[in-house]
């Protein structure tokens, strides 16, 4: 560890992994509820399990991004963090607020939670993924502002690199677009229109800058390839990502009451969204092939390469599958969307956070890389989780195709619930793939506790 203040990243990473475990457990609960509808009812109804599953994902990724920034920025700017104390204080505020929110979801009826937390002052609750009570949302904004202040001040006093600039723009964008979660117009078209400014412009916009910056940082460290080369690729990738991603928002505007030209704009630009992900894969493999050093942390290299491939498949290919308006007319909101959502989030964001954790955590624990045995275990967890996710995606895709056929294309269309019965076999198989994912995750956790000869402490 080159700078003492990088140590604040450690609690962020630990919290991220802890919440990741929670996310997967709730995923398994709701996965079972797809086929055993009253499982854990009325204690944890499906809608609550789903809310916890998705909210935990977002929150743990945010912990991961913040930890990554606190780790990367001192090294990139070649100066200590502006205020490590602020970073630690915000960590506890965010963790406690997040935990209380989840407890609120689980312990109270949602309407009661809304009443208790002042939703009548400003109605922001009740929208998918943005279910958080008003006070949690305000808390997120305060934490984000404090975090951005800390990171920006550090950058202002230190070296300015392209990677840190891209990361900072991404993080600022993340905070700015979250503000649209406070805008909840009564007009349903406008409601959905701006809802996507948080949801889509996060994951297919500014988050891609964060993803690119994290990947570029780790690749510089593990390959020793010239910074100039890596930064140039980073610029090409983020330009493509922004041009296709921003106008590509139109692929959510096909059927919500917006003008028809969105069908063209959305189809054309979002069809090109795989390009930046493809470039990212080419980039990652190229840099590793041209490496000038053999970094002892093999696991981190594996995660970095995996991110490129899985992001391209999940976000790129599975996104393209149903992005064209004439296709989406049939597939909208089916299990095909769920298939894409699972692999895209795992491939792009889960894997890039696990990449930076894999690279940084050993260094934060005082060694360049983990012992051989620990790395082997970590690589086992990589393959188990990744292959499990491939199967989850394939089973959901099969479920989605069958669903679309039975429910929407057929001459005698079935009702939603009757269709769900017909595709339950795929839901069972998805659940078993989910169990394998959990096994992979447990092995991942165990890899942190394996003792052995660790490599030198200078990474």
């Amino acid at each position: 560890m080159q700078y003492k203040s990088q140590a604040v990243a450690k609690p962020y990473f630990i919290a991220a992994i802890g919440l990741f475990v929670g996310q997967i457990l709730f995923g398994l609960i709701m996965g079972l509820q797809y086929v055993v509808g009253d499982f854990l009812f009325p204690e944890i109804p499906f809608n609550i399990a789903r809310m916890v599953h998705t909210n935990l994902l977002i929150v743990w990724l945010l912990f991961g991004f913040m930890g990554a920034a606190y780790y990367m920025i001192p090294e990139e700017t070649e100066t200590e963090l502006f205020s490590p104390k602020l970073a630690l204080a915000l960590f506890w505020i965010f963790l406690i607020a997040g935990a209380l929110t989840i407890v609120g979801y689980l312990a109270l009826p949602y309407a009661t939670l809304a009443k208790l937390t002042g939703n009548d002052l400003l109605e922001t609750m009740g929208r998918e993924f943005l279910e958080q009570p008003l006070i949690t949302k305000v808390g997120i904004v305060i934490v984000a502002l404090g975090f951005l202040f800390n990171i920006t001040m550090t950058m202002l006093k230190g070296r300015k690199t392209s990677i840190s600039l891209v990361l900072l723009v991404g993080l600022w964008g993340l905070a700015i677009f979250f503000l649209f979660s406070f805008y909840n117009p009564h007009n349903l078209v406008k409601d959905k229109f701006y809802w996507w400014w948080v949801v889509h412009l996060w994951v297919e916009g500014v988050w891609e800058l964060i993803l690119g910056a994290l990947l570029a940082f780790v690749l510089i460290k593990v390959t020793g390839v010239d910074r100039e080369v890596i930064e140039k690729w980073l610029y090409v990738i983020i330009t493509l990502a922004l041009v296709t991603g921003i106008i590509g928002t139109g692929h959510h505007y096909y059927w919500i009451g917006t003008p028809q030209y969105w069908q063209w704009w959305g189809s054309i630009f979002s069809a090109l969204e795989p390009l930046p992900f493809f470039a990212m894969t080419v980039f990652a493999f190229n840099m590793v092939n041209r490496r000038r050093r053999e970094h002892p942390n093999k696991a981190a290299v594996l995660w970095a390469l995996g991110t490129g491939v899985m992001a391209f498949l999940g976000a790129g290919v599975w996104g393209f599958l149903h992005t064209l308006a004439p296709v989406n007319y049939y597939t909208h909101g089916s299990q095909i969307t769920a298939a894409h959502g699972h692999m895209a989030f795992y491939g792009a964001y889960v894997m890039v956070v696990l990449t930076i954790i894999s690279y940084a955590m050993p260094i934060l624990r005082g060694r360049a890389a983990n012992p051989e045995k620990a790395q082997v275990l970590e690589m086992w967890s990589f393959w188990l989780m990744t292959i499990a996710m491939v199967f989850i995606t394939l089973f959901l895709t099969a479920a989605g195709i069958l669903q679309v056929w039975l429910q929407r294309v057929s001459d005698t269309p079935m009702s939603f619930m009757a269709t769900q019965d017909q595709i339950s076999l795929f839901f069972w198989m998805r659940e078993w793939a989910g169990v394998v994912f959990l096994v992979g995750l447990v092995i991942y956790l165990l890899s942190f506790f394996v003792k052995g000869d660790s490599r030198a402490a200078n990474a």
């Binding site: 390839v225 140039k232 690729w233 296709t244 003008p259 028809q260 030209y261 063209w264 054309i268 090109l272």
Partner: protein
């Protein structure tokens, strides 16, 4: 930064080691970007052709109402700008930086002329009530030309950066990567217009 070539197999060796071997002008990264741009326009053109085939009469009628003279003037302006950019690259190669900067300034002038003509065309179109929702043809006319218009603006920003670099004498034989990279982008903007203009304004 200009000196660095991307380490891909297709990247050319430095001119000094293989002066006669075929060489990729400009940085490989810009060619990746240009291909992505051409793909985006290509998809858009294909969508135009597909829709036109379903609305032949509408497309022909509304195409007649476009200002073709403005289109011709803009074609001449872009071609002239590209010629000036070529002269600027040649001048830089001879290390005639001041000359190179003057050619670039002339190219920027032509580019600004394009922007002016296009803005006049848009304002007339909007006065006639043409909008993205007024017809399928208008949707394509406005979308395609505006998407290209934004590329002209970006191209101009790049030309200004090159002009600035040329004035400081940054480019010369053996260090042409920056100049060629920017020039390649500008020619792409020109090339796209050479397809867009006949497709949207002329062919019926």
């Amino acid at each position: 930064m200009e000196n660095v070539r991307l380490p891909l197999p297709t990247a050319s060796p430095p001119a000094s080691t293989a002066p006669t071997a075929p060489r990729l002008a400009g940085d490989l990264a810009i060619w990746f970007f240009i291909l992505a741009e051409l793909l985006a326009f290509g998809v858009f053109f294909a969508a135009y052709a597909f829709t036109r085939a379903n609305h032949l009469e509408l497309f022909d009628a509304e195409q007649q109402a476009l200002n073709r003279s403005a289109g011709v003037i803009n074609t001449v302006l872009l071609l002239t700008a590209s010629y000036f950019v070529v002269r600027a690259v040649q001048a830089a190669e001879r290390a005639a930086s001041a000359q190179s900067a003057r050619w670039l300034l002339a190219a920027i002038g032509c580019g600004l002329g394009f922007v002016g003509v296009k803005l006049a065309e848009y304002s007339a179109a909007f006065e006639h009530g043409i909008s993205l929702s007024s017809s399928p043809f208008h949707m394509f006319y406005l979308s395609l030309t505006f998407f290209h218009f934004m590329h002209v603006i970006l191209g101009l920003v790049i030309l200004v950066a090159l002009w600035n670099g040329a004035r400081q004498g940054r480019y010369h034989h053996g260090d042409m990567n920056g100049m060629e990279t920017g020039a390649a982008y500008w020619h792409m903007v020109d090339l796209v217009w050479l397809i867009l203009f006949p497709l949207v304004y002329v062919i019926h």
